[in-house]
Symmetry: D3
Subunit: 317 residues, 6 copies
């Protein structure tokens, strides 16, 4: 037969075989590597919290916290009660499940029995939903703070729909509530979801007062033990972080205060870095753009960097 | 009966009841809080623009602006006409709907009657699609600018498929067209979508000339009243922002020029901050990395910060 | 007929016609513009790699590299072999397909015949999966580096589930493997996916040793020809970039080393910029926050910027 | 170049062109045929009821009529009120929309103005939901009738979950309610949905009393003007139809009684055909299998066909 | 204000209110009716087997029983083991879950404790999968019987892909296996799924030998206690049913043999009805079309109805 | 430890292991059984036509044949051309693909080379779409026949939307076109899809003239070599079949005429069976309900069965 007439398909078929033959050896290697200590796997374990389920919890909670904003269902006085009732029930169940998985995961990790994991998961969910009305009120102060702080804001709706700063604060406040109930994994997965969508990285352990506003926000980092008062406003690229530390001290610093304290009504402009657990920015102070601070600032102070001298040189054309 | 034989399921059931009982009180509180002024809700209102629908509009527009790049459907000369015809029709309808919702929302917010909302929504959509060919041409200049500005670029396709700077500019140009037609909410939701995916925050109100290139882009902020000429190139972390302003002045500054003007062929390297509505960077100037500018720069100027002195200290081991 | 009885629907209908009539002219313009050189399109061409398919490849690979972490399927010793077998087979096929598309695209772009494109695509896929066990081992060093470097880390699982730095490194290592096999488009689409979710922009061409840790990460840029040793740790806002270059030199610099070299065990704090292909940061050096470096640093050195003098001014109230 | 080396892909490409070239002429023909009277199209018209939406309405209604049976959501005394509230609201809206579309379609078809279509659609939906509790009660009699009539039934749940007869009756009763309100298209689409899943074809216009049971059901046909009393039981393959009629009489018979009347407690075994608008099967009668009836049967009668003589012939092997 | 200028939308709004007001009363009625004995609901109960999950189980099982026929995944000797391994694992889990739900449902219905429900569910799943290879072999005999019995069959693949008779037998054999393990609800939901797609209603309790063929099949009914030998062939519209019985005897007949026995190699043509638990059709007999049988037939017999005399009358034109 | 405190979860875990251990042996058996001749599998073969893809083709074709009826997209004179253009292109591609798979499957089954499979697939698709306008015209005659034949029909739209007879004829005509081009598997999968939804089983090989109407339709069987003239009307339960044949003759009858011929304007009422390849029902004849015919009927004849004598017996109460 004329080889030029050979069906390409059969040819492809043959070559497929050649390369596919690599698969079994690869699979054996991978299975083997699951039995070594070198690699990480979750084989032969209980189910773990699911990122997808946690993201759904966030959006359920937002639908409850801002009724009517994020739903395609029409909500009016006829069905508001039913709508919220169903959403709260579903949220209760979803948090129960993920919290139980997180607790069980933690128990097993520490070789503890897990007798009341399911019950504790539901207790957490009940505590969380009891706090929802309160959460609504605090978030309303954050919305107002954004409107008052940004001359580009055209109205509250624009802020609620599109401001990344508010989105990150919403999620932080949800995650912080669960962090306070010692739920593992879940709060951090929540704030990292916000981080991935906004570039704003707030650790769920931080404590932040009402009327908080972050403008633009990309690059903001707020560390685990940061404390922030009321009516604080910060801009993009602000880091509230820990001082650098030698590797051997990492372990002893876990769970200690390593991040700064920001008092009420402070404004921190873009690119500012404030480091250290003992650093306190006093109330009503204003920190100018790009300032680097590792020491405390008294209240009612304006801090600027001495301007770096600019060099204007005519461009050779 | 031996209590050790008790079915766990029934036990779980009992405890469920205990915690679920929290739900009705929570729901009542939430319903109550919707009747107060303290919280935000969209109850008893007309439907509002939908973020999901707006994101779909963006991707529809991109499929039209770059035919064949972002579709699984094969597009060739046989079906190009049909393909574009269907896409443009669908885009027309989708914009009509969201624009109408946005206009109606705005009317109701100002207690104005909404007699021609639907008609105006369609007029906007018609104007938008009439502008598509023009938009294609401008975006083609942006693609070329990226290729000329980035030595890592392997070809035009790589830029169109994967450059976040181009993605953000694409969306900005779409949103800016709608912003110019005074559509509320929608343009900002569009640019915040780009912001969330690229870390590049361009306000839809900014005016930007052709052949614009943003490299890397994370942390770029371009404020509402910024003006940018042709052939401008900027890098990650650049802020074109407003000077800080006392809270009581926020209201009077809404709608005024607060952000800088960048003339043709300017290059702005990473981390630069340029602030203020009267600040003008003259044509062909180059602003070096990390410079902080609040005053105008004449054309054909190279601006550098006097280098901060570096301290080299031998590390104690 | 009483005009007050006019059906709004019919009215809307009429106005629809008026605006929809714009569509055919728009479509003709767009079709026309596809025949000019001014615009970009992919009409009359072979299919191109699909971003959606590439994102699926990333998640398939992650499910194999961290068995049991990112799946809803229970994986235990009974089915581990089957599970990995199916995942590896599917991954092999998915990479074969996308790699073939990328190669074909490249061939056609250079007017080369594409006789062995399909075969080469499978060869690449086979090479990729052969490398999976090795990849698992390297990634395990990155997980451990994160735990050792971050006092906020509560355990390995939290890192694997939620640390954006690790996520970006995972994807970079996958993309780098394909980059090394000269697959076009795909590696960059992968790292830009990571960039969009983490704000961390690592070019797939960079070379990075084991035990690499990026904390927070937003705004990190690592250029195409960067080389990074083992046990390096970097923070948010770090740029490892190229020196600025005049437009006319862009072309000659494509494919040359333009980005710095970072040796083993270096730590680079937030906001640091290191530029230039000849810049080498010697082993075990520590670069303090916000430092701007364009020259080499010897090993075992601590580099700081001389602190800018702060100005503390009492705020007028 | 050796032609045997020609890339198959390019070859395929070429041949594609040849066949794809057929498309434009085909499209022109089809467009042309839409302008003739020969063919049916819905071009340049208002939207019409959607089969998908109508199927969703059926399943919504079933979730309300049998609370907890067909939902993945746990329904208990805590959330029953919310659950039913949301389901009823959604059902109200869905029926409003489809009923409005059906009415509008009917108006336009008769060149009538459509001023109150939307309002009438909602009135229908309100009437429908007011009837839901009543519907539940009637359907409960049907469930009980199935249990009492079928020795294979293991319990009520099995009937509700899996009996096609009950499924068809459920849908018939829903459709009949809408038929009674003169909604066009929708009721028939509903009963044909049941027909396609069960082989039971009940016209929505038929009138059927409580405690109705159909066993097996495939092939059952119940015509538009059939009347069926209470506690009637029928088997597979039963036709309650019209007498054959000459073509020229079709038009005058539209809307007249053409199908039989079945009084209370009648049993009709499989394969029976009962035809004619004046045929009445008297109460408590039993019609044996395969009987063909075109005349009335008095009450309390057992009707059998004289058995056809069977021929038993030894099979030649 | 001129009423002709009234915005239709606001008008619609008003009328909406009027009709929506019906909702709360309707919901209250429905909630009330859940507390009465008149209606059926599943409120305050454990979850019940899910029809969707059961349909998925059927298709999973079919993918295992006919490897490569019903999957988009390429199955070859490289991955056959992995493929089957994953499918069997998933099937095991899915059956475990649904069987457990069915058992629990049965326990609760009889007020029995449910201590080992979960364990028993898994035991059933394990028994089921152990039987899979055997099931494959029996089904292969059914495929061959179809090919041998139908002159229209073009090959085995056509039968496996498209013959409704085989589809119904496949599902019957799966359901019968679970029926034999006393799983409630699930087997009947399975066979009713087949019934809805094929018009073939085989009760899962029937016992059917190998090499069974049903041609066309619509309207076939095979009752719960039917017994069918090997190599039997039947056509559309065949009923193997129970004799009619007075209502008061229904209860005592539950669980007794009420349906006929069909011995090996019998052929039953279309429209035949065979009734009664004591009726036996002897081996190798052939029952001609439309015959009605309530008594036994000896082996090797051909049974015909004495042809009804046909009347040929010239049609008046 | 008190056994009553034992965590149920761990207990469940243990028992899981016990049953899951069954899996590997089962998988091995199944793999083994794939290597025997006893069972059917599609391992190590080329991809085969996909039922899902074929069902999509049907619905694509229906959207083209009845423009605007089955789409959510508004179709009007502005976009009709684009709409049909895109639908026809997509249909062309989908048929090309499935036809190619069917041809390849047939080639491989007969050990023939498959050099022009892809080209032939496209030729078939081109022929098919060229026939679409013609198909529209024939189907329009079927719609009109339904309206004229059924006094319950309220309009053409009701017929197009909901009449199962028309649905089955639509699909038959599509499938018959492909059958005529000798595409294997696909046509039968199409008509079995119609069969499963309507209970009407028309073999794609049958030849049926224009203006064909099937009322109700459940149980209709029309065999492979049936020929039906114009303006024929049939009712539910009609079989146009083959005479019974001994098993050893099955093979020689494949591909021969085995089913009846029905001439123009014949009406066949419900439950009629007409068998045999030489049976001809002459034009304009009417066959009364339940008649069983195995011989030809001259034109203009009315055929009835001599009515079986009915026995009316008073029911004992």
């Amino acid at each position: 037969m004329d080889p030029s007439k050979l069906d390409q398909c059969q040819f492809r078929e043959a070559s497929t075989e050649r390369f596919r033959e690599a698969i079994p050896a690869v699979v054996n290697d991978l299975v083997q590597s699951c039995n070594t200590e070198a690699c990480f796997d979750h084989v032969d374990t209980e189910p773990i919290p699911s990122r997808d389920a946690i993201v759904k919890i966030i959006h359920m909670a937002l639908r409850i916290l801002y009724p009517g904003y994020f739903t395609k269902i029409r909500v009016d006085s006829t069905n508001l009660h039913y709508y919220l009732g169903q959403e709260v029930t579903t949220l209760f169940e979803a948090i129960s499940e993920q919290a139980t998985l997180a607790i069980r995961h933690e128990c097993l990790r520490h070789d503890l029995p897990c007798i009341h994991c399911g019950e504790r998961g539901q207790e957490i969910a009940a505590d969380f939903i009891r706090n929802l009305t309160n959460l609504r009120k605090i978030l309303a102060t954050d919305v107002r703070a954004a409107f008052e702080g940004d001359p580009a804001a055209k109205g509250y709706d624009e802020i609620i729909f599109s401001y990344p700063g508010l989105f990150a604060i919403n999620i932080y406040r949800i995650a912080h509530a669960l962090f306070g109930m010692k739920v593992s994994l879940v709060p951090r997965i929540m704030t990292e979801y916000a981080h991935s969508l906004t570039g704003i990285d707030i650790h769920p352990g931080a404590r932040i007062g009402e009327s908080f506003f972050i403008d633009h926000g990309t690059g903001v980092v707020i560390g685990e033990t940061t404390e922030i008062g009321k009516h604080v406003r910060i801009y993009q690229g602000v880091t509230l972080g820990a001082l650098s530390l030698p590797k051997e001290k990492v372990e002893e610093l876990r769970y200690q205060k390593r991040h700064p304290t920001i008092e009420d009504e402070v404004i921190i402009y873009s690119g500012v870095t404030i480091l250290g657990g003992e650093t306190v920015i006093g109330a009503r102070s204003v920190i100018g753009g790009n300032v680097w601070i590792t020491e405390s600032v008294p209240p009612d102070t304006r801090v600027l960097t001495k301007k770096a001298e600019l060099i204007f040189r005519e461009k050779e054309k």
